[in-house]
């Protein structure tokens, strides 16, 4: 992850330090868990076995 070369946000995007922290909201926690399960099952494209050409 290229965090050291992190850029500023795109023009027109406002930074709001008072925005509520919804990152631990049950809705998002559930969605993330579902995503983890999906990736554990199917993997990522680069880890997929190549399909053989017939």
């Amino acid at each position: 992850m290229k965090t050291s070369t992190r850029k500023k946000h795109l023009p027109g995007i406002t930074f709001d330090p008072d925005m509520p922290d919804f990152s631990k909201d049950p809705f998002f926690v559930k969605k993330a868990q579902r995503a983890r399960t999906l990736i554990a099952k199917v993997g990522l494209p680069e880890n997929q076995p190549k399909k053989r050409k017939k």
Partner: protein, 145 residues
């Protein structure tokens, strides 16, 4: 990304974005979260912020008549997010099949524009393939070109 969209705010360190949808049902606060679920893998989640309950509800039931504008705004947050994390893979799927289908239609409709910024994969029969028109997918994975 030239589609009409809403301005949004961010708390960048937590990968969260927020914006307001305006329509017949009033002003609705929308929340977008990129949650890290792997090394370079983030799950994209978005929903409506319920200020009274301080919680997120499922997106898209607000009937505010601005679905395309809302989805364009979410797409723009992906542009901003991947500007900061260029190696990130972003995974997203609908909470229902109908919702996933809606996202698929939106991608298909804007494919030319989206493809200039992102490489899109669709999950079909337990394997990923480059997004193709006319195919039904269960989930989507995008990364910045």
């Amino acid at each position: 990304m030239n589609s009409a969209r809403y301005p949004f705010v961010t708390v960048g360190e937590q990968h969260m974005y927020m914006f307001y949808s305006d329509g017949p049902m009033g002003t609705i606060r929308k929340a977008v979260l990129y949650e890290r679920i792997g090394k370079n893998l983030f799950n994209l989640g978005f929903g409506d912020w319920n200020g009274e309950l301080n919680q997120i509800n499922d997106f898209g039931r607000s009937n505010n008549g601005d679905r395309d504008k809302v989805l364009a705004t979410v797409a723009f947050t992906a542009l901003d997010f991947t500007d900061q994390f260029p190696d990130a893979h972003i995974l997203f799927e609908g909470t229902t099949l109908a919702r996933t289908r809606l996202y698929q239609m939106s991608i298909a409709y804007n494919l030319l524009e989206i493809s200039t910024y992102f490489q899109i994969q669709g999950l079909k029969s337990e394997s990923w393939e480059p997004f193709r028109l006319g195919r039904n997918y269960k989930a989507f994975l995008v990364r910045r070109i």
